[in-house]
């Protein structure tokens, strides 16, 4: 069954990069994009993706707040944070907001596939710059 993914980042060129990486895998499909947390929550409710790949620092509504709202309104949807914040504290806040996965952008090429596989199966995947802690 196809894993349906919503990609959320305020930089279009980063969304392009994520789509490029994600669409390359059989069984995954990027169904839509959003440029901020508010748009992400609206689209998640409409489209009920399996996974939301979500940046943290965004205008209008940041990723942590969007994560909380999406987890409430679409409980079946898992959140994978893909962020520049390479910080245990931020990872903790993301987990408390309901994220199942956390990947640092600078390691996205290394970790994204394993992260999406894990969270789409409702398993956690948390990785900071050092070593994946899955």
């Amino acid at each position: 069954m196809t894993v349906r993914i919503l990609v959320v980042d305020d930089h279009p060129v980063v969304r392009h990069g994520l789509k490029f990486l994600l669409d390359g895998y059989r069984g995954w499909k990027v169904i839509d994009e959003a440029a901020d947390g508010l748009e992400a929550t609206e689209k998640a409710e409409q489209l009920t993706p399996d996974v939301v790949v979500l940046d943290i620092s965004m205008p209008r509504m940041n990723g942590l707040e969007a994560c909380r709202l999406i987890r409430k309104s679409v409980p079946s949807c898992e959140i994978l944070m893909v962020t520049q914040h390479d910080s245990p504290q931020m990872m903790r806040e993301a987990t408390e907001a309901g994220a199942r996965g956390y990947v640092v952008k600078s390691n996205a090429a290394r970790d994204l596939q394993a992260a999406v596989e894990a969270v789409s199966q409702h398993r956690p995947f948390m990785a900071l710059t050092s070593v994946p802690t899955n």
Binding site: L18, N62, K105
Partner: protein, 240 residues
């Protein structure tokens, strides 16, 4: 013959995104990628791409320093600067360093293709505000916009490289290895810099580097305000 493009950005996601955008153009190919300024300069010298896209904020050697080195090596290199920062200082530095295109990262998906097309056809490309600045003669010599950067003592290209490496936390020995000089030479550069700039500690040097966009800043932890990108220099790495 295809237009050959080199992309330099320290974020792989951004490189993937740019490659994906540019490869849609049938007459273009990505001949190389680089993840820091030093690698960008080396690859550009070897491969001689037609267009070079350079991110400003990169470790090891930042984009502005890389552009200066490329322009000095061959003024015919066609360079597009990619940045999240469109402050007066960055724009002026980029254009004076030799860039002929200036694109904001937030607008890259919209503007990058147009920028490459422009440079391919021998024209310049600037996004909105930069265009206005160029038209109002910002780049005229002696325009005196009151920017303190214009009153800074002049540093050599090598000294700017050393500032970045030291501000990134590298020891004199590491600087020497990276620049292929002796440790003594690296230390001499360091003391010359401190003397020229009137600085008294590494912390001062880091502050100088941040203020003058030689290094970028990252903020720790949960200090994320809505709508703002993150960042703060990590001072813990630097003794005083």
């Amino acid at each position: 013959m295809k237009l050959r493009i080199l992309i330099a950005d320290d974020h792989e996601l951004v490189r993937r995104g740019m490659c994906s955008l540019l490869r849609e153009h049938p007459g273009w190919e990505i001949c190389a990628e680089a993840s820091d300024g030093r690698e960008a300069v080396e690859k550009a010298k070897q491969l001689r791409p037609d267009v070079i896209i350079v991110d400003v904020g990169m470790p090891n050697l930042n984009g502005l320093s890389a552009i200066r080195q490329l322009a000095e090596h061959d003024p015919k290199f066609k360079i597009i600067v990619l940045t999240i920062d469109d402050s007066d200082h960055v724009i002026k530095e980029a254009l004076n360093a030799g860039a002929r295109g200036f694109v904001l990262k937030t607008d890259a998906a919209r503007d990058l293709v147009s920028a490459v097309e422009a440079l391919q056809n021998g024209r310049m490309f600037f996004t909105g505000r930069v265009n206005d600045m160029v038209l109002t003669g910002f780049l005229e010599r002696g325009s005196g916009n009151g920017n303190s950067a214009s009153r800074l003592p002049s540093l050599t290209m090598r000294e700017r490289e050393v500032i970045q490496l030291v501000a990134e936390g590298k020891s004199s020995k590491e600087v020497a290895t990276l620049l292929n000089v002796s440790t003594k030479t690296a230390e001499t550069h360091r003391s010359n810099i401190m003397r020229k700039l009137g600085l008294h500690s590494i912390r001062d040097l880091v502050l100088y580097a941040v203020k003058n966009n030689i290094i970028q800043v990252r903020m720790p932890g949960s200090e994320v305000a809505q709508g703002q990108a993150a960042g703060v220099a990590d001072f813990s790495a630097h003794g005083n």
